[in-house]
């Protein structure tokens, strides 16, 4: 019921409804890419040298690239890469960051100190620089890009959830639970975790967009996904050389990237409004 309420609330505000449907649409597009893309073989790499750098037309709505591949098909296939990277980065970062932050905040003491100094080390680097460092040392490729981004991402979640856990563990119901003989594990899972998770949901929603953007940046710099895999960052990187004469090559993947990142940001805001009752009133 709660999820349905949430969806309904997101829908009330026009802009978040647009963002929500855009993401749903793009995800469907990514899933059914082989059925939607006009030239599926070209999307995954097969060059068509006779049709190089054609401007947008009915045959190729987004034009073709320097190897004669249909840009629209590659943008559609690129959504697959982007979503896989975006969701996996956030999922892995949550998987590491959430439990560490939760235990760190709940236990406090030495464990907390060690974990916090560790996150300090990671947070001392600008996130993209750290991801660059990692992926240049473990090599390029989609999987390594995901790993590199997740490694530079988890400390943010650890910090966030730790702060929440510290404030939640002092709430009377947590003390009450421990006075009633509820075990520590149960207290963390049943009381601390559910009551500290809401800001994480907001952050994670917004971060899918940011992770996609950073993955594109890695690809742009040649450290992420490698050709001929269709990827927006990679397409922009290749297309930038042709930008002046053949604008459609880098512009369409760029627009796709923009739409996805902005949509996730708006959706994140909407989720925040849903979770924070003080903001909720304004939406309704």
């Amino acid at each position: 019921m709660k999820v349905i309420d949430g969806v309904r609330l997101v829908m009330r505000k026009k802009i978040s409804a647009v963002a929500f449907w855009t993401i749903i649409l793009l995800v469907l597009m990514a899933i059914f890419a082989p059925l939607i893309a006009p030239y599926p073989q070209e999307a995954t790499g097969t060059p068509n040298l006779k049709a190089r750098l054609l401007p947008p037309s009915w045959e190729h709505p987004f034009g073709t690239d320097h190897l004669g591949r249909d840009v629209l098909s590659r943008v559609i296939y690129g959504a697959r890469t982007s979503f896989v990277v975006g969701f996996s980065v956030v999922a892995i970062a949550l998987l590491i960051g959430l439990p560490l932050g939760l235990i760190s905040g709940y236990l406090g003491g030495k464990f907390d100190m060690i974990i916090m100094r560790l996150t300090d080390v990671f947070l001392a680097f600008p996130p993209l620089l750290l991801a660059l460092l990692i992926s240049s040392s473990i090599g390029s490729g989609m999987f390594n890009a995901i790993l590199a981004l997740a490694i530079s991402w988890w400390p943010w979640y650890t910090r966030l959830v730790r702060g929440m856990a510290i404030s939640v563990k002092q709430r009377p119901y947590v003390e009450a639970a421990s006075c009633m003989g509820i075990s520590q594990v149960k207290i963390v899972l049943r009381h601390v975790l559910p009551n500290s998770i809401s800001p994480m949901i907001v952050q994670a929603t917004m971060d899918v967009g940011s992770a996609i953007l950073e993955a594109a940046a890695l690809s742009f710099l040649g450290l992420g996904v490698q050709a001929p895999t269709p990827d927006w960052g990679l397409m922009i990187s290749e297309g930038k050389n042709y930008f002046l004469n053949y604008w459609w090559y880098p512009v369409f993947p760029g627009i796709a990237l923009l739409v996805v990142v902005v949509s996730f940001n708006i959706l994140g805001d909407a989720v925040r409004e849903f979770i924070d009752p003080r903001l909720r009133r304004r939406v309704i």
Partner: protein, 320 residues
């Protein structure tokens, strides 16, 4: 009399950034089988710290010395797992603020089942049956509806009843009630106190009632301990305390209860509660005491039984 809980020379220090706060300064008290024992004192006198030391749920910066014997067993020597088994099953607690003592995200039933299942290996169905009869015990009329309600759907009084039911769920022999009525309306306060007394009669547990309200004490307790700045200064049966208060602090407390005729002038106690970072030497009450003697500055008076069942810790009544 059968002693249920016996606290001897309990010292609790807290390490704070400003220094060591000596919060409990050798507390001594006994709670008998089947009685309601009240602990009265101002905010910060160590009432709650005493109750938290019994359950061993003090924060990590607390250092505890002394002895707390419950049903013949030393609680301060128990392992954490042994303590966990005692909490909620043998010694239970009712809290000050029912509004925030329940997790807002889970239904009442789930939270009560958690408590039962933390101590007994029973199925959810069985636990639910136990709970329903408890909710009837605390006079909640529609147990099945309460069980499937979220905390925000209940009133403060109902929540406190739920908390009492939860505390009772494993038939503990001692219930610590830490200001159970402070957050409630006066009319609801009365009902909750009556309920606790009624259940106490029915199940025969002992109650350690912590409060700062002498009115509550007068209505509910069998015996009372008065605390001041980490010391128990006087312990007496309720009639003796009100008819013949011995300790200067107790007298001062009683003299500020307003008289309903409005004719009696109140005589306030001068000064304020001392800092526990730098507590007064000797008797901690001496800076505010009208009967100050030299010895009070140097020696801490011991708790002496000056008449039957009436203990006082003051140099006016002998001792060292």
């Amino acid at each position: 009399m059968n002693v249920k809980l016996s606290i001897r020379d309990l010292f609790v220090d807290f390490a704070t950034p400003l220094g060591v706060a000596k919060v409990l300064n050798g507390v001594n008290l006994d709670v008998y089988q089947g009685e309601v024992f009240g602990v009265v004192g101002e905010t910060g006198c160590g009432k709650s710290v005493t109750s938290m030391s019994i359950l061993r749920v003090l924060p990590q910066n607390a250092y505890v010395r002394g002895s707390i014997v419950f049903e013949g067993e030393e609680l301060l020597e128990k392992t954490e797992e042994e303590m966990r088994e005692i909490r909620g099953s043998k010694i239970s607690m009712v809290f000050q603020d029912p509004m925030t003592s329940l997790n807002p995200l889970f239904k009442i039933g789930e939270q009560m089942i958690d408590v039962v299942r933390a101590h007994r290996s029973v199925g959810k169905r069985e636990a639910l049956d136990m709970i329903s009869s408890l909710l009837a015990d605390v006079r909640l009329s529609d147990p099945s509806r309460i069980v499937s309600s979220y905390p925000h759907e209940l009133s403060g009084g109902m929540k406190q009843r739920v908390m009492i039911a939860m505390a009772l769920s494993l038939k503990p022999s001692l219930i610590i009630a830490d200001e159970p009525t402070t957050a409630l309306d006066v009319t609801v306060q009365r009902q909750v106190l009556d309920l606790i007394l009624e259940l106490q009669e029915k199940y025969g547990f002992s109650v350690l009632l912590i409060t700062h309200d002498l009115g509550v004490v007068a209505e509910t307790c069998d015996r009372v301990g008065i605390m001041y700045a980490g010391d128990v200064v006087e312990i007496a049966p309720i009639e003796k305390l009100f008819s013949n208060p011995l300790h200067p602090y107790t007298r001062a407390l009683l003299s500020v209860i307003p008289d309903i005729s409005g004719k009696k002038r109140l005589t306030p106690l001068g000064g304020s509660v001392p800092s526990l970072l730098h507590p007064p030497t000797g008797c901690r009450f001496h800076p505010r005491c009208r009967f100050l003697k030299d010895v009070c500055r140097q020696d801490k008076p011991i708790l002496l039984e000056v008449e039957d069942e009436h203990f006082v810790s003051c140099h006016l009544y002998g001792g060292r």
